[in-house]
Amino acid sequence: MKSYKFQQVFKENIGINNPVFVQILGICSALAVTNVLRNTVVMCAGLVFVTGLSNLTVSLLRQYIPGRIRMMVETLIIAAYVIIVDVVLKAYIPDISRQLGPYVGLIITNCIIMGRAEAFALSNPPALSLVDGLTSGLGYSYVLLIIAFLRELLGSGSIWGYRVLGEWWTNWNIMIMAPGAFFMLALFIWVVKGNFMKEKAEQGSASAEAPRAASTGGKS
C-alpha cells in the first residue's frame, strides 16, 4: 500500500474496483436520476465534488478524530459539503434542483462516499485521498452517464432534452420509470461482469491458495 501511486488509484477506481458495478455502492442515486441525462450530469458533478473534498478533509483530520465518534464526524463533514452543493444548485439551476429533489441531500448517505472515507481517507495522505475521491466519483459518473444516455434516448427519444428520434419512435415509457432503471443497471452489470470479470474471477479462485503454496510447492 505504500507504493500506491496515483495511476494505480485512478485505474482501480475506474475499472476493477469501480464503486457501482464492482462494489455495488451508490445504487440508489444511480437509479433515481438517470432518467434525464442533464440531471445525471449535475448529480455526477455534485458527487465528484463531495467525494473528493470529503476524502481530502477526512484525510487531513485523520490524526485528530477520536475513534468513538469517527462515523459521526465523517457524516458531518460529508453533510457540510452536500449542503454547499444543494444551496448552489438551488441558486443557479433551480429547475434541475427541483427535479433532483431530495436525491441531492441523499448524497450524504451515498455508500460510496462513506465507504471511501472509511477504507481510504483514514489511512492515506491527503493528496492521494483527494485523487481517490475524485476518481471514485468519476468511476461512478461514467456508469451513470451511459445508463442515463440510454434511458433518456429510449424513454423520451431525446438526448439532453433535444428530440433526436423522430415521430416514428414510440417512447419506451418503462425506461423513464423505476423498472426500466433496474433493468438497465442490471444489463450494464451483466455485460461488464460477464465479459471482463469472468477471467478475473477464474484467476482469483486459482490463486486464492497462492500465498503459502508458492513456497511449499503444495499446489500449482
Partner: protein, 367 residues
Amino acid sequence: MLISFLIAVAAMCGLATFLAVLMVIADLTIGNYGEVKITINNETEMTVEGGKPLLGTLMGEKLFIPSACGGRGSCGFCKVKVVSDIGDYVATELPWITEEEKKENIRLSCQIKVKKDLAIQIPEELFNVKEYRTRVERVRDLTYDIKEVTLKLLDPGEIKFRAGQYIQFQTPEYELSSESVYRAYSCSSQPSRRDIVELEIRLVPNGICTTYVFEYMKEGDEVTINGPYGEFYLRDTDSGIVFIAGGSGMAPVKSILLDMAEKGIDRKVTYFFGARTTRDLFLVEEMRELEKQLPRFSFVPALSAPTKEDNWKGETGLITEVIERHLKNADNLEAYLCGSPGMIDASVGVLTKKGLPEALIYYDKFA
C-alpha cells in the same frame, strides 16, 4: 444577517449538544454494566468492568486468549467455553462455531459482551501466556521474501515454550494501520534459549504486519509479543516422524529439530520441504548440519518448478507427489504439517491414502 447566522449556529450547536448529552447519560446509565465477576476454571475469580467484549476484558486482566484479528471476528482463534448462561449465539459468531462446539457452549470471545457474572473454562496453558516487551536484535534475509527476525526479551526476560509453539506479534500503529494488529508466527529458535525468540516472517502483499516488518521495523526497535500458544509440538512417542512444511512453515519444524538434537531424542525423522525454485530454498546448510547431529534425520527439499539455471539435482514435483514416492507405508508414523490450508488439505489426503489415521496428523493451518 449576522443575527440569523448566529441563530443558525446556536440552534445547530444546541441540537448537537442536546443529543451528545443524551448519549452520555445513556452510556452512563444504560450502557453501564457496573462490576462483574468472571469465574475461570472454577477456581480463579476476577472482578472486572462490564460492558466490553470478553476477549478485551480478559486481555485487560493480562489473560491472553489467542487472536489473530484483534477482536474483529474474522479469524476464529479466540474460542472460549462459557459455562454460565450468556444468551444465544450472535450472528457474527456462527460462521466459526461447529455443531460439536455448539453443544459444548463454545463461544467466540471477541463477539460476546460481559454483561453479568459469568463462568468460563479455558485451557491451563493460557495461564502461562504472558505479554513480553522485546527488542529487535537482528533481522536477516533468508530468501527474497522471507526474513529471520531475532527478538531479545526485555521484560519479562525469559520465555518458556515447547518447540513448535507460536507467539503473537503485535504490529504498532503506523502509516498503514491506525490500530495495532496481532499476527501469529511460530518460534524457530530452540526452547533452551529462553532469552530470545526467533521468527521466520514471509512478506504478504499489502499485509499490514508483514509490510511493517519488511519496510518499517529496524534493529533496535521495541516490539510487543505475547504467547506461547499452540498445539503443534512433538508428541512423546517412539513413532517415526514426517514433517511437511515449506516457506516460513519451516519455523516450528526447525525449533523441534534443534530441540531434538539438544536432548538427544533419537527417532526416525523425514522433513519434506516444498518450494518452487532454488530461490525459495534457505537454511539448507543448517538442515544438513542437523542431519549429521541426528543420524536418523533426512532433509528432503523438493522443487515443483525448477528452472534450467537452478541446475537442480534433487527431488522435483509437487510436495504431495514427492511424499507419495518416498513413503512406502504409514506404519508407526506421526505427521506434522505447517503451511497454507490448501497444502495441508492436499498433504492430509496423501497421508490418509497411505493409511495414516487423521488423529496422528498434527497441523497449524496459517492462512
